[in-house]
Amino acid sequence: MQNKLSFHQSSVNLEIIGLPDYSNNENKDQISIISQWKLTIIDKPLIEGKIEHLGPIMNAFYIYSNLLIKNEIPIFESKLIDIKADNLHIHNIVLKSSKPNVKPLILKIGNSLLSDTINCFDQLNESPKVIIKKPDVPNNFPGKLRNGLNKKLKFSNFFIPPFIAICSLILLSSSFIYFYNPFESIEKKELINAD
């Protein structure tokens, strides 16, 4: 008897069918040997495949969504799946079959369905009941970026006080010009010498 787990978000449903790995002392309600998965998007053809297709498809969606948000050109192309933006609201997905003479499946989904799909994949990633080799969701950002905010603050704190100090010194010293005229003092000295 196979286990079946469903992850649901608004108009998208992801179903995972498989068995636990009893040799690894897993619970009977867990899934670590996936035999089949199905991605159902309302009003669109059913997407299903083997375990080796799930990881690359999830990765493709994650990479594409990152590109979309980061103002980079949102195009993802691979042997299995292509995702391109038709415009700001519609995304064109081409799923290529590994079998010969099978036409690729073309889907057009909007931003709402894209976010539903990403959220279904997130639920699968976070589920303790499914043990799979999970795709690399960009959760760990490099140290340079992590410390960027701190460094920016420290940089400004470091340079602004001396800058203000130098400016105020220039302003203050320029005001002394009213009390002391260098040309007048030279003339006075000349007069004293002449005497």
Binding site: L68, K70, S112, S115, N119, D122, E126, N139, F141, L149
Partner: protein, 111 residues
């Protein structure tokens, strides 16, 4: 960008707290965010939702932001603000999972 005469820099712990609040609000508001995004996909059918949202967004910007700033003016420009609003809503809709805090933080650092 805000209407304020005090130019205080945000501290790292305050920044973190703001991200956590934003993620929790996004989880709660996801159905609404989704409907706004959907309304823009087919403007003829759902133009009321998008227009209402856009109108309220502009009202809030005018009320709370410094109108002399060029970046704020860009937010108010109808020709340019569509992309900014959609990308902001998309970012929020991608961050409603349990790891949403970390995801939103990454998006903001890489922005």
């Amino acid at each position: 960008m805000r209407k304020s005469y005090v130019g205080n820099n945000i501290k790292l712990n305050e920044f973190d707290a703001l991200i956590r609040v934003t993620v929790e609000m996004s989880k709660y508001l996801y159905p609404y965010i989704r409907e706004i995004l959907k309304s823009k996909e087919d403007l003829e059918e759902n133009s009321i939702i998008w227009n209402d949202f856009n109108k309220r967004f502009i009202e809030l910007i005018k009320e709370r932001f410094n109108m002399d700033s060029m970046r704020v003016k860009k937010l108010l420009n109808k020709a340019e603000n569509d992309e900014i609003i959609i990308k902001s809503l998309l970012t929020l809709s991608f961050c409603i999972s349990n790891q949403g805090y970390q995801k939103l933080k990454n998006f903001l650092y890489e922005f």
